[in-house]
Symmetry: C2
Subunit: 278 residues, 2 copies
């Protein structure tokens, strides 16, 4: 991986890298925050998955997460949200909710998406292997994300609990098999046979398999997408049915924006730090 940019931030290092991804079959950029403690030894990492339209830069610039990460000694690993570059398929109408910026953290099986859109494998395997071989990380991982990235964080953790110590989400797409964003994306990437969709639906996974990890979810009650797209009630019902350790916090007055994330990211990082032993 090649260094693109490095900036000092809260005594640590905010870094952008570029690398050739075998999983995604294209060149990718991602961001990393290394806390000051990484100068002395390996630190645990929180993976952050951003939402629709984002790159690795939105969370880096807007969430203010580096302050708490520097205090807690946590690295932040911040991938892009889709494959990028010449020849990477996009929504034919340029819509924001499919294609570039909207990888949905799945492994696409349908053309033309299956050539590049393997964000699930990228975030689960290729990216951790890369950064853990190149950076001072101790291999302990937590995962979090926002909206489409909250969906991704929950699905990755529920399907791979041995890979993470804890999972959290802000306003996740909790039940994508039952909302318009999910129907469009899962239909395109996985095809119309809905049996394949269940592997990427956090509520269905939690109901079927339970979860051994602690799960924290914040949801703003003034979020425009809450009723139609996000459906955290489905996740809560699934947790109750499976006995999973889910804390769902409804936050009065908060919307879907980075102001909401910024307001609570320190609490999420403290939650993960407890489980990461940081």
């Amino acid at each position: 991986m090649q260094l693109v940019q490095e900036q000092k931030c809260f005594g640590g290092r905010q870094i952008r890298y570029q690398h050739d991804s075998n999983t995604l079959n294209c060149s990718m950029q991602f961001s990393v925050f290394l806390p000051p403690q990484a100068e002395q030894g390996a630190v645990p990492a929180v993976y952050w998955l951003s939402g629709l339209t984002c790159t690795d830069e939105n969370f880096s610039a807007k969430a203010g997460a580096q302050r708490a990460a520097a205090e807690l000694g946590l690295a932040l690993i911040i991938p892009d949200t889709s494959p990028r570059g010449e020849g990477v398929a996009d929504d034919v109408d340029g819509a924001y909710d499919l294609g570039l910026g909207a990888g949905f953290y799945v492994n696409a099986t349908q053309a033309p998406w299956n050539r590049h859109y393997h964000m699930y494998d990228y975030v689960l395997s290729e990216l951790p292997a890369l950064v853990e071989s190149e950076l001072p990380l101790n291999g302990k991982r937590a995962i979090s994300g926002h909206s489409m990235g909250g969906h991704g964080a929950l699905v990755l953790a529920l399907r791979n609990p041995e890979r993470f110590v804890s999972v959290s989400a802000f306003a996740p797409i909790s039940n994508p098999t039952d909302c318009p964003w999910g129907h469009k994306a899962l239909g395109a990437y996985l095809g119309e046979d809905k049996a394949a969709w269940a592997d990427y639906d956090a509520s269905l996974l939690l109901k079927a398999k339970g979860c051994s990890l602690p799960v924290l979810v914040d949801q703003g009650e003034a979020d425009n997408f809450l009723a139609e797209q996000l459906k955290p009630q489905a996740l809560k019902a699934a947790a109750e049915e499976s006995g999973a350790d889910l804390e769902l916090r409804l936050q009065p007055g908060y919307d879907h924006s980075y102001y909401f994330i910024a307001s609570f990211i320190a609490e999420h990082l403290r939650f993960h730090a407890r489980h990461l032993g940081a």
Copy 2:
């Protein structure tokens, strides 16, 4: 003034307003953060002046200032950096350092700039009168800013110490009569008679008049603009000559970006809170 957008943030309110500015002769937008304490009564305000190319949204989204402001009970008043709209003059080549996004917080005397470019009067008088009549503010003011906005904050405070209790800056253009950005902007807005420039040069003002206010300046040592454009040494020399209470902190490794501002904004707000009685 009309509400454009309001979002809950750290228990307070991040708000964007629009109004017709008599001073600037155009419609303007500005942002305000009201801390939770403003629900109970009037609070003091820190005015924030952004740098070249910014609007009111850059600081609002990227600095993470609302966290400390919410803790300290401070309002943040965040104007745009220039007049805007149809018919507002811009640099003929579209350069970033003159015209739109580059008002330099002066009262322009030269055509075509003198029709709209009166950011000095706007920030000093019109905007405080407006927000203090409409919002729960107690009339106590501090001022801060970044780069071009650090220049503006210093000049406004040095020329009007009765209006503010304290002033701070991040990487200010400290001596604009002696740097390329200043030569270009002051030459265009004020004309080539350099006698008029001295009223907008913080180092010359501080040397000539001293300053009764406490002044805090942070400057990153890895800032690309440090040597050619910013020249904090001139400000420091002027403070020593006039006996002003300037604390200039050189921060190793930090650059000119919002990651630098985010890293230290809480310290600046605590500095202002002490003087605001917050």
